[in-house]
Amino acid sequence: MPKRFDYSQGLPNPIILREEILKKYPPKLAKKRAKAIVINDPDVEQEIMANVRTAPGIITQRGCTYAGCKGVVLGPTRDIINLVHGPIGCSFYAWLTRRNQTRPAEGEDNFMTYAFSTDMQDENIVFGGEAKLKEAVREAYEIFKPKAIGIFSTCPVGLIGDDVHSVARDMKAELGINIFGFSCEGYRGVSQSAGHHIANNGVFKNVVGLNDRPREGKFQVNLLGEYNIGGDAFEIERLFEEAGITLISTFSGNSTIKSMEYAHTADLNMVMCHRSINYIAEMMEEKYGIPWIKVSFVGAESTCKSLRKIADFFGDTELKAKVEEIIVREMAKVSAIKDEIKPRVEGKVAMMFVGGSRAHHYQDLFSELGIHVVSAGYEFAHRDDYEGRKVIPNIKIDADTRNIEELTVTKDEEHFRDDLVTKKAELVKLGYEFKNYDGMMPDMKKNSLVIDDVNHWETEKLIEFYKPDIFCAGIKEKYVVQKLGVPLKQLHSYDYGGPYTCFDGAVNFYLEMERMLATNIWKLIDAPWKNESELVGSLAIEQY
């Protein structure tokens, strides 16, 4: 087995690896994949191919549009009945499988522990499923008395011509509660990403702005693209509360539809997962004048940076002082633990292929521990998540993207916040950055290998080449990678651990890295007799 590279002198140029990967593919596929595998050079503007179809037959990490819409964006909202119109599987697989924690008050609605489906049968496919859908909505209303029902289309729905939007309108009129549909059939896009966009549109159109709740705090913010996996949002909520920042609504971890209805009363939108939620941030700015900033609470340093950025936005002396007080106190705790753990994990090698922002965010935690990230990529991101938002005007709109509705948003004269527009302009003059995300690639080292939509074959080759100490991906990759003797940390479900956001979350992650990287168990894979010569002893029992 060849020895591992010396990563302390910079990363090796992976050009041979890239060639070896591509060699295996049929010519057309090789040409396509070549554009999605980029040897990074942060000093040069490089283009990566992203958000394009996965070649049929490839063992991909990606899921479908429905998963992005129902599973990711609407799934974590507790006071809505998410009714899946389709055969049973789609509802079954999105039933409690994403670890979105939620904390309903006593007596408050929480439907997240339930799976609702029209369980379409063949006669519904042949004769249409609208009547059954209507009846299911009625039954759901009568039994559960929800305040809102969302209807999610699965693959066959669009094909047989069921109109979920007209059913939603009819039932809304009949039952008098908010009911809306999503055309999020699995095939709509090239990945979950299309579903995020569809969900953003639906929530913006049907929920945001329904309730002009009076102000409750001095600093009102929304947190967008934080889904409270393993309690991540709870950590952020706690910090905000201490700092005196009023969190109006989160899209959508630990959230309610009710809170989204008055999301337009916020002064600032903070975008965590740029990929899944930037649409709604953009639309809220156009309609209400609420500016948005990119934040990250993954990593202690990022948390400090994000907190300061919020404080700077409001420019309030008291808030700034409070934020600094929290940072000093928390960083003292974090540093003490980091200093203890870092020597045990420093210099280790990691790679991560996951999601649409996590593969970037988690690099901060690794760098805090001195772990090298040699290769990374997203599962369903777009070019702007790699190269930064500056490339958006240059992204070619292909047929798959054109399928997804682009809402025409106009200014809401009554609610538009001219004060925020003025504030934004003033801050921009001082160099404050709004609506910007620089993407993953500028933050990665020279010669790191950036791969979009990594697949099984590439995963095996990557491990062979880099011999990483830890690999981050999802459940489908977990045991493949571990069979190769490399521990895998799931960054979708956190292996049922977490939270990993903010200061306590960073500490959790450091401890988890210590557990995974400092264990001896991987060295015990080979049996002690593996290299002993074979004996045929005279005590062997003959009939066996």
């Binding site: 593919y25 049929p26 049929p56 037959g57 490839i58 063992i59 991909t60 990606r62 899921g63 479908c64 429905y66 998963a67 389709g86 055969p87 049973i88 599987g89 789609c90 509802s91 079954f92 697989y93 039933w95 499988t97 309903p104 929480n110 522990t113 339930y114 799976a115 609702f116 489906s117 029209t118 369980d119 049968q121 063949d122 519904n124 496919i125 859908l133 009846e135 009625r138 039954e139 039994i143 699965t154 693959c155 066959p156 094909l159 059939e185 699995g186 095939y187 896009g189 990945s191 798959d400 074959w457 999802g474 459940i475 489908k476 045991y479 493949v480 571990q482 069979k483 190769l484 894979i525």
Partner: protein, 460 residues
């Protein structure tokens, strides 16, 4: 409360399923195909189907689950999935090099009317299937039946594609397995070895979904029924199908195609289903039952009689797949428990009949239902009305168990939160011991937890 909206008022539902006791066909087809050596399952539909099914199986087994997808987009949904499948076949053989690709359809490809047979014929004509390699297909529309139906359809496709009748009968028995765990398949093989019956087990997920940690990843692990073995099934003396939902179709196909007579019996769960299995095996293999099997049976009977007082009269709620829960319910009745509530999302008229036979005299108060709307929500409502002492089913039951403070034994698919099912069988007499041990443990744990201090028992 985790399920805070569930009340004891049962309202008749005709359209809404809540907390299903089933999932859809393709995952069954995928699981079945993994039990054939060198086979890569392929999902002809949107990426999400493949992703969800792989995730569910991976979480249940904590093992690699490899499968490919046709990655449908809007275009393929409008113009048909032929181009996608042709490209997939080419890509799979060049990149992943399996012996067999086992394609299953999805609700999407079924709805648009893709003809898998025709597309695969075209793939062969165009030379996309290398010499000596195989591509076969099963139609598994998600809007018909359940995951068990998908398993049955893929099993049928395997025997139809491979089984061949020559002029030479082979003195072996075909064993078509219902949806059971790798540990159970290992147990079936052990029993057949003890019985000295030569046999072919199809599918066989042992050594596929319970592989050792070696530092190497084998895309096609050493387990799985081999092509040669499936081919030889056409010359076997007899077929035993374990579980009519999962195996009857394949058994009939084998009979039609190769004139191998068949017998459909229950999966050997518990005492009497195992008795019938052993007798059927003895008859099919023309062997007598060895003493060692009788001794295993005796050990199970011994534990039942030793511990009878703890299970007697206890009310049980059970949900799961017909093939698995029918013999389980029979076992519970045999040990004098009362399975009062039974639901299965899997449709099929025979379910009601079997339940009636088993429960009519011994547990006349029992409620049972299968098909759409026979879901865990209904079962929970029944429990709210009149509680039970024990719940048996897949992981989703933990929400009810916690809300209602009811002991809970995990059996079925999926089990997402405990280990053991891959390694410790629940089939045969040995498996009966395991089921009984699990039931006793949770019942006794509760007794230990709630007994007043003066009534706390050392010996039980």
């Amino acid at each position: 409360m985790l399920l805070r909206h569930t009340t004891n008022e049962v309202r008749e539902r005709n359209a809404l399923t809540v907390n299903p006791a089933k999932t859809c066909q393709p995952v069954g087809a995928m699981y079945c195909a993994l039990g054939v050596h060198g086979c890569l399952p392929h999902s002809h539909g949107s990426q999400g189907c493949c992703s969800y099914h792989r995730s569910a199986l991976t979480k249940h087994y904590k093992e690699p689950v490899m499968a490919a997808t046709s990655s449908f987009t809007e275009g393929s949904s409008v113009f048909g999935g032929q181009a996608n499948l042709l490209q997939a076949v080419e890509t799979i053989f060049s990149v992943y090099d399996p012996e067999i690709i086992a394609v299953h359809s999805t609700c999407l490809s079924e709805t648009i009317g893709d003809d898998l047979g025709q597309i695969l014929a075209k793939a062969r004509d165009e030379g996309k299937v290398p010499f000596g390699k195989h591509v076969l297909a099963a139609s598994t529309p998600s809007y018909v039946g359940s995951h068990v139906t998908g398993y049955a359809n893929m099993l049928e496709s395997f025997v139809k594609y491979f089984a061949e009748k020559t002029n030479e009968k082979i003195r072996q028995v075909n064993l078509l397995s219902g949806w059971v765990e790798p540990s159970d398949m290992r147990e079936l093989k052990r029993i057949m070895k003890m019985m000295k019956v030569r046999s072919v087990l199809l599918p066989d997920t042992s050594d596929v979904l319970d592989t050792p940690m070696t530092g190497k990843f084998e895309m096609y692990p050493k387990g799985g029924t081999t092509i040669a073995e499936i081919v030889s099934m056409g010359d076997s003396m007899e077929t035993l199908g374990l579980g009519e939902w999962a195996t009857q179709k394949a058994a009939i196909a084998l009979d039609n195609q190769c004139k191998v007579p068949f017998d459909i019996i229950d999966i050997p769960v518990g005492l009497r289903a195992t008795d019938r299995f052993i007798q059927a095996l003895a008859k099919a293999g023309r062997v007598s039952v060895p003493e060692s099997i009788t001794e295993e049976r005796g050990r199970l009977l011994d534990m039942i009689t030793d511990m009878h007082q703890y299970v007697y009269g206890k009310r049980v709620a059970v949900y799961g797949d017909p093939d698995n829960i029918i013999p389980l319910i029979e076992f519970l009745v045999d040990i004098d428990m009362k399975p009062v509530y039974v639901v299965s999302g899997t449709p099929g008229k025979r379910f009601e009949k079997r339940m009636e036979e088993i429960l009519k005299d011994r547990v006349p108060e029992a409620k049972y239902k299968n098909g759409p709307q026979a879901d865990m929500f209904l079962m929970h409502q029944w429990i709210k009305k009149e509680p039970v002492d024990l719940i048996i089913g897949n992981t989703y039951g933990k929400y009810i168990a916690r809300d209602e403070n009811i002991p809970f034994v995990r059996m079925g698919f999926p089990i997402l939160d405990r280990v053991g099912h891959s390694y410790f069988t629940t089939l045969g007499y040995v498996g009966g011991l395991r089921i009984l041990e699990k039931i006793l443990s949770v019942l006794m744990d509760k007794q230990d937890a709630i007994a007043p201090e003066e009534k706390f028992e050392l010996t039980m």
